[in-house]
Symmetry: C2
């Protein structure tokens, strides 16, 4: 790379978690955290996530809102064989295209199910919006799909995460979003003023302050996030110096 | 209650999780699940949740969008003493009111902190939007607040959950949203058709189908949710009969 190389931009993303089971409290979502970490590694900035119910109008409207707003959209949930699995048809509706039988998926399913088992309900999973490409399913069952900037994945965590891993390398990411953590044995309120001053000198870095009582006393995790390793190192050094100045012991977790 | 009593409506709610740490993948949110369960018990339907970053314009815009759309809004995160704790000022901005020093919180903090420790940063936590009432903090630190239909709570799970528990009884809930689960040792695709037929006869009940491999083989949890215990019992009985008809063993988890 020469100095003339324009800096790569950081694309943006939104995750849509589609599922009544999350909103009812039946299920604790763990896909968002997995996807969020993967996107940061890949240099894609996750700007928003939404949990929405299995209601077609809501899915259509939300998908159309966020796909216009962000570079990438990732959906999880609602791609099985039952009546509440309506994601594929809603995505087709959002894009104004037909839901069509995908011969590749059908062939996969024919080879997977014993004769007679590939019933009408299961064949619903072989339908994708016209123009979609497939998102491999490395775990079990039919694939997800991509249409435009929207990736449609399963909800079952093992499968959702396998699908995400399978397409992660295809994302046009920017430089990885790096993090640097300093743990501090002082409460937030003690370091808040100095920390705000450091933040004001590092406009390119997001400094987050996260209190914790995990070890039975008030501690604070100070997390700097940004694209430039040197700047993060400098911010972390200033944060450590501030903590020492205030009588604390910084632990640089890196 | 007589037959003339109008049925109580089910109010709606939205949860806003405010925090870069969730979007970066640093932190796995567990507050949404807790609040979701509590709302269902209280007879409030959680219709949406969003995770948004610590960016004031985004917070203001999102709060104003969802507070107009739902009966209740619950926010978590961003109410500490550091520069990234901007929720209170953003909520004030969303409501078009001033952020003012709350003497009740200030008095609480004065009694809590040793002399000289109640610095300017900590005093930020004693500020609430004009007209707000307090949400008790039964764990540690300053309270949250309520303004209009928006409840503003901490992000640290123990505190967020304590605050939610402290205000839950004040919500004008409808009848509790009940759930009835039948576990089935058949894969989803086998029962999908019959299940869809049952769903079509129970418009007042949401039947969700959730595949699991938790016990090493494909099983399906069939969850019926609704307001009427008898109708749930009848739907569960029909689901169990369907499973038996298809050669499976239903387990009524209730």
């Amino acid at each position: 790379m020469t100095d003339d190389t324009p800096p790569r931009k950081t694309p943006t993303a939104c995750v849509l978690i589609i599922g009544n089971e999350i909103l009812s409290g039946r299920t604790q979502d763990i896909n968002l955290n997995y996807i969020a970490k993967g996107l940061a590694e890949r240099g894609v900035r996750l700007k928003e996530a939404r949990v929405i119910p299995d209601i077609c109008d809501v899915i259509v409207e939300t998908v159309n809102e966020v796909r216009a707003q962000y570079d990438y959209v990732f959906t999880t949930g609602g791609i099985g064989p039952t009546h509440d699995d309506i994601t594929a048809e809603c995505i087709a509706k959002a894009f104004g295209v037909k839901l069509v039988l995908n011969e590749e998926i059908r062939a996969m399913m024919l080879s997977r199910y014993p004769q007679g088992q590939l019933n009408e309900a299961r064949l619903r999973m072989a339908h994708t919006p016209e123009g979609a490409t497939l998102v491999p399913n490395p775990i079990s069952g039919p694939p997800g799909f991509r249409i435009g900037n929207v990736f449609v994945m399963a909800g079952v965590p093992r499968i959702a995460q396998g699908m995400f891993d399978a397409i992660k390398h295809t994302l046009a990411g920017g430089p990885p979003i790096l993090a640097r953590t300093v743990l501090c044995n002082l409460p937030e309120g003690t370091i808040a003023k100095g920390l705000g001053e450091i933040q004001s000198r590092y406009a390119d870095i997001d400094i987050g302050s996260y209190p914790t009582f995990a070890r039975g006393k008030p501690e604070t995790n100070l997390v700097s996030r940004g694209l430039d390793r040197d700047r993060l190192d400098r911010a972390a050094a200033e944060i450590s110096a501030l903590i020492r100045e205030l009588g604390g012991d910084p632990i640089d977790i890196a």
